[in-house]
């Protein structure tokens, strides 16, 4: 645990000294917020909370992108080899990446909430405890996904390709950019198999304050199970050396990381009521906006 803590501190320090991190970790999420508010929230204060939920989702999901790139870079540059000589296990190294990443997204999360409330006149603070819980678990889950991407790709180029594919899927099939409620039902059902959907649904419901924390249990459980499984998978697949290739069999572990979401997706699309809840919230927002306009 001591090693994890030492590595976490160093990772945070290194990130804060990195201009790229400052751009992608702070400026870009806030840029998304201003852009979304300008396009979708202008004159519709009811929508600000919903937009905040979406932007928080993007901020949290960004964890996987930064971590995967950094880990591959460390491996390619031979930095991981140096750590491998020390009595530091892969678990400590990976856990420190997740903890550091979590700490590093908190300023952007806090800034987004405060700006929405103070500058964009968000109607209420929403359910902040639920937001905190979802951001915490979600950051861990998506960081662990990033670690898996880093483990199964051999070069930075491969990492970028996989990241782009996953990022696009997470972004457009979760409700983080286009509200899920406007998609055809079959797309909504497909989205239920994506981890990003659980984060987006949970955060959007929390920021709008439409539901209590206990109603977010399913999202929290899905993300928490995803975190535990993805962390273990990343530990199993972890490679210190650039020339150590991933054996084909080991790639099956990647499927294991998706199993929780396949199960949640199958259950939710057959017996769940999440899609109905999304529809209901979307209609409530719509009605709120109509009445704002009428006034």
């Amino acid at each position: 645990m001591k090693n994890t803590w030492s590595l976490t501190k160093i990772r945070i320090l290194l990130a804060l000294r990195n201009k790229t991190f400052m751009f992608f970790g702070l400026i870009m999420p806030l840029g998304f917020l201003f852009f979304f508010v300008l396009i979708f929230g202008h004159g519709r204060t009811g929508w600000i909370a919903y937009i905040l939920g979406a932007v928080l989702t993007i901020t949290v999901m960004g964890s996987f992108w930064g971590l995967s790139v950094q880990l591959v870079m460390f491996r390619e540059q031979g930095i991981l080899r140096r750590f491998r000589l020390a009595p530091v296990g892969a678990g400590a190294l990976l856990a420190s990446s997740i903890f550091a990443n979590y700490v590093l997204i908190l300023p952007a999360v806090a800034a987004e909430i405060i700006i929405c409330r103070e500058a964009f006149h968000m109607v209420s603070w929403g359910n902040l405890w639920a937001v905190f819980a979802l951001v915490s678990v979600g950051a861990g889950t998506f960081s662990a996904f990033g670690l898996i991407v880093a483990s199964v790709t051999n070069t930075m180029q491969e990492t970028q390709v996989i990241n782009n594919l996953l990022w696009s899927a997470f972004l457009f099939l979760s409700g983080a950019t286009v509200p899920l409620a406007v998609f055809p039902v079959w797309i909504q059902k497909v989205a239920l198999f994506s981890p990003a959907t659980y984060l987006a649904m949970g955060l959007e419901a929390s920021t709008t304050g439409y539901i209590g924390g206990h109603e977010l249990l399913e999202e929290l459980i899905a993300l928490a199970v995803g975190l535990v499984v993805a962390f273990e998978v990343s530990r199993q697949l972890f490679r210190w050396e650039p020339e150590a290739k991933v054996p084909g069999k080991a790639k099956l572990w990647v499927i294991a990381a998706l199993v929780p979401f396949l199960l949640f997706g199958a259950y939710e699309s057959s017996f769940g009521n999440q899609l109905l809840r999304i529809q209901k919230h979307f209609q409530m927002l719509d009605r709120q906006t109509s009445s704002e306009r009428a006034r």
Binding site: K2, N3, S6, N18, G78, R81, L85, A86, V88, E241
Partner: protein, 306 residues
């Protein structure tokens, strides 16, 4: 003789179809500096990385301080220190932070301040890793290898790519470690390094140890012979230099003729006469007393630098 600190027995390792190690065996005693000398691709790094626990052998036995590097895990890492041939640290990590971080991983810890002083990095304590010169990076790598005051030290090509002055600085540091009776295994392709630093040397070629002993013992093989290296204005035909009086062996390497002679004055006179007869000219002539380079040449027919 006491139990060796490092024991390697019939080590084998292949990468695909390429056999990197073909039955390497040697032992290193406590407090000894043992060198693996050989050209690039000889199998030195594979051997040392197996001993560091970074690679798994296909067959054979490797033991360090009574522990198996492959199975002893973190406990093994507490005992050893290493400088890798290719490694790095994050660009934005400061020298003092790197030392503090790595020191913190170990149960037995050296004082980071003392290490900074010892490796002349005090002035660079706040410098980022990316701001260090090649020599400073290597000094930091050595300092990091000593943060746990290790019983066994592995140095993989510790001076490769460094300029001669920095190389000599590193030699001084290794000699200090030798005085402290650290057990050191180092790999190198520099003759001077092996001769100056090592108590015993194993000459490695194509994944095998082809000779081992003290530098003096190894050089004794070529005792009484002098190496004469000459450059000529025109090429001479194969074998003609071999037939000169006093020349026991001659080979050509990239325009340099390397002659071995037990009677150098006669050999030089014969060479000059031959050049006159062939209207050839002597561009340069250098004479060397026997070195490990000659042993390698004798055993493999190639030069270490090839």
């Amino acid at each position: 003789m006491s139990e060796p600190v490092i024991r390697v027995e019939n080590l084998r390792k292949s990468y695909g179809t390429v056999a990197a190690l073909r039955g390497v065996s040697f032992e290193v005693q406590a407090g000894e500096v043992f060198g693996l000398l050989g050209p690039n691709g000889a199998g030195k790094t594979s051997t040392i990385e197996i001993l560091e626990g970074l690679r798994t052998p296909d067959a054979g036995v490797a033991s360090v301080a009574g522990l198996d590097p492959q199975t002893a895990g973190l406990e093994f890492k507490q005992e050893v220190g290493a400088v890798l041939q290719s490694t790095s640290l994050p660009d934005k990590l400061r020298v003092s932070e790197a030392l503090a971080l790595f020191t913190g991983f170990y149960r037995r810890r050296a004082d980071p301040e003392l290490l900074l002083r010892r490796f002349q990095l005090e002035e660079k304590r706040n410098a980022f890793y990316s701001q260090l010169s090649g020599g400073q990076k290597q000094r930091l790598a050595l300092a990091l290898a000593l943060v746990n005051n290790p019983t066994v030290l592995f140095l993989d090509e510790p001076t490769a790519g460094l300029d001669p002055q920095v190389r000599r600085e590193i030699y001084d540091i290794i000699e200090e470690l030798k005085q402290e009776k650290k057990t050191i295994l180092l790999t190198t392709h520099y003759i001077e390094e092996a001769e100056r630093l090592c108590d015993r040397v194993a000459i490695v070629d194509s994944g095998q140890i082809i000779a081992q002993g003290t530098p003096r013992e190894l050089k004794h093989r070529s005792a009484g012979t002098t190496r004469i290296e000459v450059r000529l204005a025109k090429q001479v035909s194969d074998g003609i230099l071999n037939s000169l009086e006093g020349v026991s062996d001659s080979r050509e390497f990239e325009g340099v003729y390397v002659l071995h002679s037990t009677r150098p004055p006669q050999a030089i006179v014969a060479l000059v006469k031959l050049l006159e007869a062939e209207s050839n000219e002597l561009q340069s002539l250098e004479m060397f007393s026997p070195s490990l380079e000659d042993v390698f040449l004798e055993l493999t027919g190639r030069r270490l630098r090839e």
